[in-house]
Symmetry: C2
DNA sequence: CTGTTAGCGCCTTCAT
DNA sequence: ATGAAGGCGCTAACAG
């Protein structure tokens, strides 16, 4: 039973393929009676147009690609989920590509997936600025996640790292902390640079000292930094993200260090499990699911041509500050105080 | 600058499109000199064949679809990741679809994605057997994850729930536990049925009593069951999965119940954060990443036609029991004893 | 070894 | 309102 084509339907309905095409696509210029006959024939043959052939002639695939650095990272998982759900709601499909942190492959991967889709959502925190700038035009339409766009021309959604870090620091400062350890992310990442800038800005207006430690983005990186953190004598540790914070706390626990008694630890992101560590992690909550939804909204707007969709996404009501309205939404992380932060010791 | 087509390359190289096609596809029947000229022209024009047009004529898209019930679930995330990486290694792309637990939509979603790809990997633990059976033929090639196939004809990969549950039970039994609470998953899910069967089998040969409690698959479900668990008087709780176990422990902690002092709690899956709960969770580790890799291996074998790939996947060496060799690998979960389980109280 | 031609399955002017 | 015909971009016979 080979799949039936539009010609089969035309034959069965006793019309031309053109009419079938029109009828099935809801073209109003078709006699209602005929249209019905065509529809019936299509159903009888279980016909439905080949997406492939359709894409070829229409020039659109109804699919977008999303390139992430690591599908194992909770943050990107949530972005993907938000994106996937939002896209599905508008009849779009999602092609995922995990670059596995291989920066050198990101370009090829993005380009490759782009050709099979109508656009790409790129999450590439470590790609050098110049390389990114060169890539963007070839990728259009493209929307960036967590990158400040060089040109104002490319839609970008992201979290306001600066605001998040500042909120965290203010919280700790209010608890009496004056000496901090910062566990950095990857050197070349934009998100790390943004955090560092916010930290330095804060340090300048408040008399605090900050020890910057080399780091990483995962659990192991945090676990490995414990001794270095203790060596600084800091009373509070600001981890690049929750994963790092969790790793740090894990090792700390092994060393018999009391958190937050001897050392306060805060993370970033508020991944699903941050609330269940021991002690529960104080962090800056980034609405990653929402970030994915916004990424889709931006993509959708671009695809829809000029002034297409003003589709209401998400839960509407409570919208973080000047977020979704803008073409470059910058979601403000919310401070979530839990058990891992407390008054400065001594 | 409109994209260049094969005709442009042909023109520039001074040959026919057929020759370009052959040269670029490595067809040996092309004069080496000509082939080189074609390649040069292609590079100059930055030409690369349209995947769409190619797919249409070749009948293959070099893409597979994977349908999961919930992208927010760590287990499915890992499967997706393993699958994605393995597929990429062989030049395949992955289209993801999150059915958002909507069983009634799964069929349509699978069918829809199938038409844009060469096959689908279906993770649908709750789809009724008969519906699944009816769907399978329309989906082929398809590989199932965590479903016992009715017909031996469809490739399936999965975790051996029975073995995992038994290992957990034996562990607890060895600690002196005789009265258990089982927090069930979704009623209609296959994976729940498998666990229940294993529990009953164990109960029959060891004098234990098991209280089955209605449940769910996520954190909240576990959190909501705490009182019910305590009411049974059981000394050990077996949660459907780690998420449920974590939810349970969370509420228990609020109630001032000592784990494992007063109640032992064990989970299932060994999600990435199971090791960092408080106390760390005893569980049965399911190699979900590997599951994804095996799913791809199965798909790849099917796509490759008859006796194609015996591609060595993964780390080769340490292979769980009679796993990957089979066409229906059933990975055996490994017991991971951590702090949440201890001697039975009183 | 290379060029010509016929589709892959569909949509869309262009006539009628 | 409907049909005929020309592509979308590429590959695979089928001749030379």
């Amino acid at each position: 039973m080979a799949r039936s084509t539009i010609a089969d339907v035309a034959r069965l309905a006793g019309v031309s393929v053109a009419t079938v095409s029109r009828a099935l696509n809801g073209n109003p210029s078709v006699d209602p009676a005929l249209a019905e006959r065509v529809r019936a024939a299509a159903i009888e043959l279980q016909y439905s147009a080949s997406p492939l052939a359709r894409s070829l002639v229409l020039g659109r695939t109804a699919t977008i690609a999303v390139v992430v650095p690591d599908l194992g990272n909770p943050t990107f998982q949530e972005v993907l989920r938000g994106l996937s759900l939002a896209a599905k709601a508008e009849g779009y499909h999602v092609l995922v590509a995990d670059s596995a942190e291989a920066v050198e492959e990101e370009r090829a991967l993005a380009l490759d997936t782009r050709r099979r889709t109508d656009g790409v959502v790129l999450v590439a925190p470590r790609m050098p600025d110049d390389e990114l700038a060169a890539l963007l035009p070839e990728l259009a339409p493209v929307v960036l996640v967590n990158r400040r766009p060089d040109a104002k021309t490319v839609p970008t959604v992201g979290a306001d790292y600066s605001a998040g870090v500042t909120a965290l620091l203010e919280h700790l400062h209010g608890l009496g902390h004056r000496s901090f350890a910062y566990l950095a992310g990857l050197e070349r990442s934009v998100s790390n640079a943004a955090r560092v800038a916010a930290i330095e800005a804060f340090a300048e207006r408040s008399a605090i000292t900050v020890h910057r430690l080399p780091g990483g983005v995962d659990f192991d990186a945090g676990a490995a930094s414990a001794d270095a953190v203790l060596a600084t004598g800091a009373t509070a540790a600001l981890a690049f993200n929750d994963l790092v914070a969790m790793g740090l706390m894990s090792t700390l626990q092994g060393r018999g260090v009391d958190v937050p008694g001897e050392l306060s630890v805060v993370g970033f992101d508020d991944i699903p499990f941050a609330a269940y560590t021991s002690p529960p992690l104080t962090t800056a909550a980034v609405p990653t699911l929402r970030l994915g939804e916004l990424a889709w909204a931006a993509m959708s707007a671009t695809l829809g041509g000029a002034g297409a969709a003003a589709v209401a996404l998400g839960s509407g009501a409570r919208e973080p500050a000047a977020a979704s309205a803008s073409a470059h939404p910058l979601l403000v992380p919310q401070l979530v105080v839990r058990g891992s932060s407390g008054p400065a010791s001594a």
